[in-house]
């Protein structure tokens, strides 16, 4: 494209519905990003950045509980904020110290709106890129611009996606982006990149690991009878994954902090970091978390079986079998009361399926997103930064709202805990509905038909 053609191309793009959706989604995010934030997680991003600035890397001092990839992204954002002259990351507010003992995870350290804005930029970018990939996959598979735009809208305007990235400040959309990229690259035959992308996704959060069986089964299915190509593709993807994982972990291998980087998993196996003072709720969470950890082993087996089934029955439209199996696997692995942000992994594949194959899946999509979004927004502390750094509302008002949610409602459980239980049930119903709709779709269209 020549330089003089660019403005014309931009104007043409802006006239398309997808551009309107993009702009609307961006405006909503840009307004929310600085104003509302979940201080507990975002203050840990400030802590991580400042540990990097102190020369302690990601694990020299405790406070960063995830694998290194997100930490490296924070390392970049540290430089970006420096360039933009951001000096004020946050402050400890004495009047909020007591909220740290509330049920849930709350902090008296509140990050500033400008910090909130900058630290969420990578999530904003990944939201756009996931939307783009969803659009691209649907467009390539169907050739229908309208369907692709519909898919983009379902992702980019989804309240759960907007909340997770722009309010919560959690990086789930980044590992979702790498997961979708991995599937897309494999679909396009770029195995090295597919493997590398999967490695990054898994090293952000473990859930994409469940998808690995589908990816392998897809290659095997694609090249049934051609053992050489099959082996070459799997080996290439494995090399991509291995090399990328090694590159990512070089600093931790050198300084002996590999085990520290796995705290996200190991702390949960121990029953999870329950800090709550609500006896019933603490016990429930601790027990539930242990149960969920062990359930993962069973779900791993289920994911493998689903992949095997695709290999056996997906010989017709292999690509449809692939995207269907991705959707089903990314759903079934969350058939437990997952944190809302985890469910982001389900959405792109579900959306692709809705737009490409069966629009009736919009019902389970709506149920799932409603449950997960209500689960996520059950958190009054997101107003604390706004109250602390602007005159829009008072800190005491937000604290009153938080205290009200902490009051007992049912069986010794607080309102906050009851809402979490109810919304978690809706989430699980959403997942079950996906599986029921899938069975109906299979009955009507045949296995992967």
């Amino acid at each position: 494209m020549r330089a003089e053609e660019i403005p014309k191309a931009v104007i043409t793009f802006l006239k398309r519905p997808v551009a309107m959706i993009l702009i609307a989604g961006l405006v909503i995010r840009l307004v929310l990003m600085p104003l509302l934030t979940y201080g507990y997680d975002v203050s840990h991003w400030a802590l991580t950045i400042q540990h990097i600035q102190a020369g302690e890397g990601l694990y020299g001092l405790s406070g960063y509980w995830y694998t290194p990839v997100w930490g490296y992204i924070l390392g970049i954002m540290s430089v970006v904020m420096n360039v933009f002259g951001v000096t004020d990351y946050g402050h400890l507010f004495d009047e909020l110290l007591h909220v740290e003992s509330f049920v849930g995870f709350y902090t008296a350290t509140l990050t500033t709106p400008v910090f909130n804005f900058f630290v969420k930029i990578p999530m904003l970018i990944s939201d756009v890129l996931v939307g783009y990939l969803v659009y691209r996959i649907i467009k390539e598979r169907t050739g229908d611009e309208r369907k692709a735009t519909y898919g983009f809208a379902l992702w980019f305007l989804c309240p759960l996606v907007i909340y997770t990235s722009s309010v919560h400040g959690m990086f789930d959309s980044i590992y979702v982006m790498f997961m979708v990229l991995s599937a897309y690259a494999l679909y396009k035959g770029h195995d090295l990149l597919a493997g590398a992308s999967l490695a990054v996704a898994v090293l952000l959060k473990v859930f994409p690991l469940f998808i690995i069986f589908v990816l392998i089964a897809y290659i095997v299915l694609k090249h049934k009878g051609d053992l050489g190509t099959m082996r070459r593709r799997i080996l290439t993807a494995a090399i991509g994954a291995g090399v990328m994982a090694l590159i990512i972990y070089i600093p931790q291998i050198l300084d002996g902090t590999v085990m520290d980087s796995l705290a996200f998993f190991t702390s949960r196996v121990d029953g999870g970091p329950v800090s709550a003072d609500d006896g019933v709720w603490s016990s429930l969470v601790s027990f539930g978390m242990r149960l969920v950890i062990w359930l993962q082993l069973a779900l791993f087996a289920v994911a493998a079986l689903l992949a095997y089934r695709m290999y056996k029955k997906g010989a017709g439209d292999k690509d449809k079998a692939f995207f269907t199996c991705l959707m089903v696997t990314a759903s079934v692995i969350f058939i437990w009361p997952a944190q809302p942000s985890f469910l982001m992994l389900t959405l792109p594949f579900l959306i692709c399926f809705i737009a490409m194959y069966d629009k009736r899946f919009i019902v389970p999509f709506a149920v799932l997103v409603t449950g997960a979004t209500l689960h996520a927004v059950n958190n009054m502390s997101v107003f604390l930064s706004l109250a602390a750094y602007t005159d829009v509302m008072k800190i005491s008002t937000v604290v009153s709202m938080m205290e009200w949610m902490q009051q007992p409602l049912l069986f010794g459980l607080s309102k906050h805990s009851v809402v979490m239980v109810v919304t978690a049930v809706i989430e699980v119903i959403g997942i079950i509905l996906i599986l029921l709709y899938w069975r109906r779709h299979e009955k009507e269209a045949g296995s992967y038909g």
């Binding site: 102190a54 992204i73 390392g75 430089v79 951001v86 990229l181 770029h190």
Partner: protein, 330 residues
């Protein structure tokens, strides 16, 4: 062709960014800081420098006493209370890193029970301090009945920093945890109920020095009774008991020629701050200052003095978490 592979080009770009982020976090960390201070006719002039965008805080206080050697007690062959040896080891490692960030110039020595006995048996060396994070003293230096060696060492001028349990409440006879006599609080501090043994937290900050030092520990359990124990400075969060006595999550008390700092709970940043600052029970806040350096620069300002002695200035860069700090004893 370009359009066709746009997603893959984006992927490669993102991979590159991650590698760049890795380099910026580990191999090419681009941040440099500096701090200094000196007395002038107007007071104390401090300098804070940075090559990046930062906020900084400065505080000046008096009656400060630097620590030359910090002996941290750790002995895997002796009992601990409310913690494990692995956690204690990790805590000490992290605390050492926090002290390094704060430019603690004294030497840090991790010492076992035998080493601790050697320290308290030897004549007190000015600048020596002991940190106990296990909540339990080894029998060689304390048994609550006839052996008070570690407290005698403090009386001679030593500094004892304490965390983990009620000070003097238990001691370790090897792996066996022993209870000290019930009168241990009076035996150590001369007054009963000198330690809070109930589980309590507080959000009532003791004062400006506490805020200026950015101390954040709110757990008052095992904190010192700052009402009953004389010559005590409270720099933590305060809980008022039914008796009207006030207990503090962090308090320093004069102990003849030495000092005991009692900390409720365990906070590595607060402990590091207290030790690096060198504050004593008679320290008072002279003044504070602060500001920002946008994309690097030098801040040079003066905090006025009015005849205070043993003044120290702590210059901290980074908020809410310290990325660099220096304490200059003038």
């Amino acid at each position: 062709m370009v359009k066709k592979d746009a997603a893959l080009v984006i992927m490669v770009l993102i991979f590159s960014m991650i590698i760049v982020g890795q380099a910026l976090s580990y191999f090419a960390v681009p941040y440099n800081y500096g701090a200094s201070a000196e007395t002038t006719s107007d007071g104390v002039m401090y300098t804070a420098t940075s090559n990046s965008s930062v906020s900084y805080t400065v505080l000046a206080y008096d009656n400060a006493k630097p620590i030359d050697t910090l002996h941290i007690y750790y002995d895997a062959s002796h009992a601990v209370y409310g913690t494990s040896h692995a956690s204690q080891k990790s805590f000490i490692s992290q605390l050492s890193a926090e002290l390094e960030i704060r430019g603690f110039v004294g030497s840090v020595k991790v010492t076992d029970a035998a080493g601790l006995l050697e320290v308290v048996d030897a004549a007190y060396e000015p600048g020596d301090a002991i940190l106990i994070t296990s909540g339990v003293l080894p029998k060689g230096v304390y048994d609550g009945e006839t052996n008070f060696k570690i407290f005698d060492w403090v009386r001679d001028g030593g500094s004892l920093y304490w965390a983990g349990y009620a000070i003097g409440g238990k001691y370790a006879d090897g792996k066996t945890l022993m209870d000290a006599p019930a009168t241990y609080q009076s035996d150590i501090f001369g007054v009963p109920d000198s330690i809070l043994t109930e589980q309590r937290t507080s959000t009532e900050r003791s004062g400006d020095l506490s805020k200026a030092l950015m101390l954040s520990r709110t757990n008052v359990t095992y904190g010192l009774n700052v009402t009953a124990v004389p010559d005590t400075l409270s720099v933590g969060f305060e809980y008022t008991a039914g008796s009207g006595d006030v207990y503090s999550s962090i308090a320093l008390t004069q102990y003849d020629d030495g000092m005991i700092c009692v900390m409720g709970g365990m906070s590595r940043t607060s402990i590091a701050q207290i030790i690096a600052s060198g504050i004593t029970p008679s320290s008072t806040l002279i003044g504070t200052d602060g500001g920002s350096l946008v994309r690097g620069g030098v801040a040079e300002r003066t905090i006025p003095l009015s005849g205070e002695t043993d003044v120290a200035v702590q210059i901290r860069i980074g908020d809410p978490n310290v990325v660099y700090a220096r304490t200059i004893f003038l």
